[in-house]
Symmetry: C2
Subunit: 256 residues, 2 copies
């Protein structure tokens, strides 16, 4: 079971879009995938039209009450693709766990109780902050993918991520591995995108995925239809890019 946190504290850089569509690509390739929505804004849950079917139990109950993950997981219309949903309650997690013991290992312990061969991939969608929820994701994860919109601010946030990864590796999760940097919302023709790509590659070299997720309006339209890109427009550039990413990711972990 590979557990991957999708991270960047900068807002709006394609974390949720990546979690949903990379997850769907892996599921359509025959893998069993669990998407964990770790954002109180619950965009992932909403993206797949599950906000209405969210019952009593969400990832909030898993983190605060130790409810087993299986009790809260929802299926999607795609075989092999399941969601551990979020809702607004999750906003309270930081305060509620502020004085608790082992606040950062709750997600890890919950995932550890899931039978080992239930899922091939667990993808965790993180909020735009480096708080307790992102920390739980990084503590639980075997690997992480950092999405970087090829513009100024998203690139600037990378050094802060380096620091926090090192801290997590030293103190709570030595097996956490940076699987790759994923360029997102790439407009291939602009000088800005090229300059940011050069700077990111200069710093991270081979860690940068060859796959770049190009700007493609279909990816922005899909959530309005409660769908991932493969249900909404399987011939789009967005579908092509996320399919390629799934292939590259599996090759990368197989080689590791």
């Amino acid at each position: 079971m590979r557990i991957v946190a999708i991270l960047n504290q900068k807002g709006g850089v394609g974390k949720t879009t990546t979690a949903v569509n990379l997850g769907a690509a892996l599921a359509l390739a025959g893998r069993r995938v669990l998407l964990v929505d770790c954002d109180p804004q619950a965009n992932l849950t909403d993206h797949l039209g599950l906000d209405e079917s969210v019952g009593e139990l969400t990832v909030y109950d898993v983190l605060t009450e130790g409810v087993p993950i299986e009790g809260a997981v929802l299926p999607t219309s795609t075989p092999g693709l399941s969601v551990l949903p979020a809702d607004g309650d999750l906003a309270a997690v930081e305060q509620e766990l502020a004085t608790e013991i082992a606040r950062e290992t709750r997600l890890r312990r919950a995932l550890a109780r899931v039978p080992a061969d239930t899922y091939d991939w667990v993808l965790i969608d993180c909020p735009p902050s480096l708080g307790l929820l992102s920390l739980n994701a990084m503590t639980a994860a075997t690997g992480m993918i950092v999405t970087v919109q090829t513009e100024y601010f998203a690139m600037r946030g990378l050094s802060q991520i380096d620091d926090i990864v090192r801290m997590v590796q030293e103190h709570v999760n030595p097996r956490l591995q940076l699987l790759g940097i994923l360029p997102t919302l790439v407009n291939p023709v602009t000088r800005l995108a090229r300059e940011v790509m050069e700077e990111v590659r200069g710093h991270y070299g081979p860690l940068v995925f060859d796959t770049r997720i190009r700007q493609n309006i279909r990816l922005a339209e899909a959530p309005g239809h409660q769908s991932h890109i493969f249900d909404y427009d399987p011939l789009s550039a967005g579908a092509e890019d996320y399919r390629a990413l799934a292939v590259e990711l599996e090759a990368r972990v197989a080689a590791a």
Copy 2:
């Protein structure tokens, strides 16, 4: 002194870009403007190239130690445009003030101690969350502008904002007024943008600004040059839109 919080808990919807460029437009029109960076990621401070000149004192010290705002304010190269900067320390504010009294009125009290005719406008850049920092901004503010990227998720977040504005008005700040909804990152030719605009207008009617901030790569390039749009490319569509917004905003508050 008009105090305006620039808000939306959704990430990457043009809050910082609006705070900087609306502020610059007002300053270039002769107003005295203070930009308050309320985001631990300090994008606003960075946008104007001030991250290096940030001294010992930032908005963090104002909020936690009661340091006077004047002690931390930095000038910019634009006359009439000043910045109360942030740095990474601000990330700790939520925990540090977790058990303190009057945690949400700290920014308001700090601004109340600034001599009444020091600034014409105070614009507060908020982080992508509805936590203690955004709450301080909404408690201190006389008005708020909600930036809405004309795509699915930013629009979905609006109902949550309605609730929290009502709560702030009822409990801590009856004078808080929604000044307007600002469509941002608008690609005028896409159906998605049109559909989101229709839905937002259907809900908010005349509250939606006539000015729309169009997608314009110059706005994304400007921070790489440590500049606002009027220094970077004053003839661009981005400059045109933010200039128009400043005019519309002043007309709106004059009429109120």
